[in-house]
Symmetry: C2
Subunit: 516 residues, 2 copies
């Protein structure tokens, strides 16, 4: 006889959700037993929930559909929230299943009793507690539909143990009602066309989401060719298609003053699935918006709309021809010796194999990356979207599971990597084809800069001890080996290039600790 | 000119809060700069927020006063929530300071904007957003007072960046209004005395909190000597004083059926700062409460009351004499060879130096620990109170910082240790005197047992891959070395005893990976 947990699994599978990133506990044991009966479900263990939710994000970005997660009660969910936040900002579809006590057990306030709804809401687009065994199918289908409602969202489903172990009247899985993106809005298209005709070269098309896939980028560049407008991506994006043969998209600069300067002469900003750019943090005396007051901001398409469709209609209404071929951007020669941000970018750009996936949590070290890698082999670039560090390595796990035939590079800052270092173990466990380039500067370098900016020129003992990762230095080779991942330390660009070549030629995870 | 951040630091220091466990970000940079100006504040960096909050819990349990934590916006708080949950269950005083965007920046919904109050509330006893620079002193004093309101609680203070960098009208720190525990309730004392006179041997005094300090335990055993009642501690407790010369307190068993049997003939249960015992998880067909329906449960003293005072008055009203000396419980001889739970307990019990602090997140492996260690040197035992795994190592960090003259042993399960393995780095950074006994069974052993209990005798591939930590096995020696902690692997009780002796004789952190 099937129980609630079986219906949950079967409903996931019926709707194409066949990967479950998991870290289970006692209250989920009937769910574990049910998963064990479903041979079509791939269960991937993360040794910490931040790995689980970050991997689900990376999976969704590359698979275009949600994975499930299995989390244990409120604290398990809490551990996964930071990367749920990143996923929500990336608009990644995700279906979290959070086990809870049996409903009748909650009033006893056992040690693990928490307000799961309260914890879930800030980082979820949809939250639902399953009412009982008969509600499992409908609730799961709704959660899947909510996760896939364009442009994508984070669903959190709370599964009480008695809903899991109880027997429903019907064991039939339920099909989710999946919506398509909204069609382009004719009025918005017309308004954007008028704006571009009037002020083409002083207009910016600000793009994100599905507007950063190859065909949409090409359509935008056709519009740029016809009108002289500029094509810029959000500062952070879930996914950008890049590399030789594709049109190079610059991004909104991170540093407030640089961004202000970039948009100083922009008259009109037209949003294509993007948000108007704002400062990542507030600073005394600096504005929150980096768009000048005189600039008119309008929307061509909202994130939930058909972005490619809207761009196509806009191009059509402007009479734009096909986009000219992108200018060749040959990769610079590899420099030698000590590692600079430029040398890092060139070495990685030259090493990227065709159709690689680059997961970028490089923080300070990677800011110059784009400029030097427009001519790299065609690849997909994934960014940290929500600013919650500790997502890079889990993202690589998820991307590798979604795309087993593609090489994954993880460009990873050391301070952020420590947050979810457990992801290395999952890479080893699953034999994932990931090369981690671990940028070891042994400090929270971004914060050193910020401290200087608030006027503290020479940090004292307390500040040093909060911003530096030395004393002791972390030995990433030892750490990676401890979790079953082969690793090597390099100190020059030449050595980096050699290691990248070797790691790219081989299969399976490898970590390169790069001293910078 | 002092800013809001200075007033915050000065208010902490004025009220005796002089340790800050921290993982800062950009929005806290003025707070970091202020901490850097306060030489009396000890700032301790954790490389993940679970380390930060777990260390604050361990510190509070041993110091009897709160530490501050410094957390970066909603995701930083989210990463610390699981151990805040444990701290709340331990009733540990704690003052979390969570940086947020400047108030005027919030409407722009920058990437790191989240509902911090929503995240904080489920794991906090007190939450307050600082209104501006002039509110910093009062808000901080209230948060400190709330944290120290008996029996202790978790305060979360949200510090907007502009409240931190703004200049308040007054720079004077504010004194917190610290309340004392409530005095014993005469009626409750009389009722408990009557119950014990009527049914002494069938009564249980169920104790927790301050009732598990040496003098309170002794007072309880004097009452037991006078009435024949039984003295039992909650299943999980923030702190118990144990070892030779102290009265041995048993605990409520974890396994439901064992607990039901233990209380089958109990007529009256009298709570002394404890909660009536319930099953840790619900199981089909088993009750939530492990106290029989026929048992009358009453309260001698609530957690916020003066527990020692209540026990003393009860003893007085019963005419109890001094407690008899505890029966000697000589440590068993060290067994040889393969490691059993019993051998582990004896080896650790024999190695514990006088006044050691034992942080216990041993999960399955440590269930038999108490029975074999009543005769160990006098020591303090700290437990996982909220069931959120990943607290053992951070707890050891905090306890070691609170008590620099005392040796800390961490009895630590491997699966749980992975959650917050970053704590090892802080042990190395701060040179903490901690011996980690890492129990390497390479599985979530508790869950293997639970899966069996739901009827899955032979786990299949999916279940195995969610419950076993092998393929690859984690090399804890390599992991610890990678974070600057010396380590060794042992496979027998004899080798464990040798390593424990050496690590105890030395100073500083050491990890023993014990293959079990």
């Amino acid at each position: 006889m099937a129980n609630g947990a079986d219906v949950l699994c079967d409903t996931l599978l019926l709707n194409g959700v066949d990967v479950c990133f998991a870290n289970p506990g006692t209250s989920e044991m009937h769910f574990v037993a049910a998963l064990d009966r479903k041979l079509d479900m791939r269960c991937v263990l993360g040794l910490f929930e931040g790995v689980v939710t970050g991997a689900a994000d990376g999976y969704a970005r590359m698979a275009g559909k949600p994975a499930a997660t299995l989390l244990h009660t409120g604290p398990g969910l809490a551990n996964g929230l930071a990367n749920m936040h990143n996923a929500r900002r990336a608009r990644s579809p995700m279906v979290n299943v959070v086990g809870d006590h049996a409903a009748y057990h909650l009033p006893y306030d056992a040690a693990l009793t928490t307000d799961i709804e309260g914890l879930a809401r800030p980082m979820s687009d949809y939250v639902r507690r399953i009412a009982g065994p008969d509600d499992v199918g409908a609730a799961t289908a709704q959660a899947i539909a909510a996760a896939q409602r364009p442009p994508g969202g984070v669903s959190t489903l709370i599964l009480p143990a008695d809903a899991s172990w109880g027997e429903p009247a019907s064991a039939a899985p339920v099909r989710a009602d999946i919506r398509a993106p909204s069609p382009p809005d004719g009025q918005r298209v017309a308004a954007a066309a008028a704006a571009l005709r009037a002020d083409g070269p002083d207009c910016v098309l600000l793009m994100s989401g599905a507007a950063l896939r190859t065909e949409a980028i090409e359509t935008a560049f056709a519009i740029a060719a016809a009108t002289g407008c500029q094509i810029i991506a959000q500062q952070s994006n879930a996914r950008i298609e890049r590399g030789a043969g594709r049109h190079p998209v610059e991004r909104v600069p991170y540093v407030v003053d640089v961004a202000l300067k970039r948009f100083a002469s922009t008259k009109r900003m037209i949003l294509v699935g993007a948000k108007a750019p704002v400062a990542f943090f507030a600073y005394p005396g600096k504005p929150s918006s980096v768009v000048p007051d005189s600039c008119e901001v309008s929307v061509l398409a909202k994130p939930e709309d058909d972005l490619l469709g809207a761009l196509s209609e806009l191009g059509h209404s402007l009479g734009a021809g096909p986009a000219p071929a992108p200018a060749p951007a040959p990769m610079a020669d590899l420099p030698s010796g000590v590692v600079t941000p430029q040398g890092l970018a060139i070495a990685v750009g030259r090493a990227l194999p065709e159709e690689a996936i680059l997961c970028d949590e490089s923080i300070t070290s990677g800011r110059e990356f784009f400029g030097f890698t427009h001519g790299a082999a065609p690849h997909t670039h994934l960014q940290l979207t929500g600013g919650a560090i500790g997502e890079g390595l889990p993202l690589a796990v998820g991307a590798a599971i979604a795309c087993p035939g593609r090489k994954v590079f993880a460009l990873q800052a050391d301070g952020s990597a420590m947050y979810t270092n457990q992801a290395l173990w999952t890479m080893a466990r699953e034999g994932l084809d990931v090369v981690v380039i671990l940028l070891s500067n042994r400090r929270y370098a971004i914060l050193r800069g910020e401290l200087k900016a608030v006027g503290a020129e020479a940090p004292g003992r307390n500040a040093q001890r909060m911003l530096d990762l030395d004393q002791p230095a972390i030995d990433w080779v030892s750490l990676a080996n401890g979790m079953g991942v082969e690793a090597a330390r390099v100190e020059t660009v030449d050595a980096l290039a050699d290691r990248l070549a070797a790691a790219t030629a081989a299969k399976g995870p490898f970590l390169i600790e790069l001293m910078i």
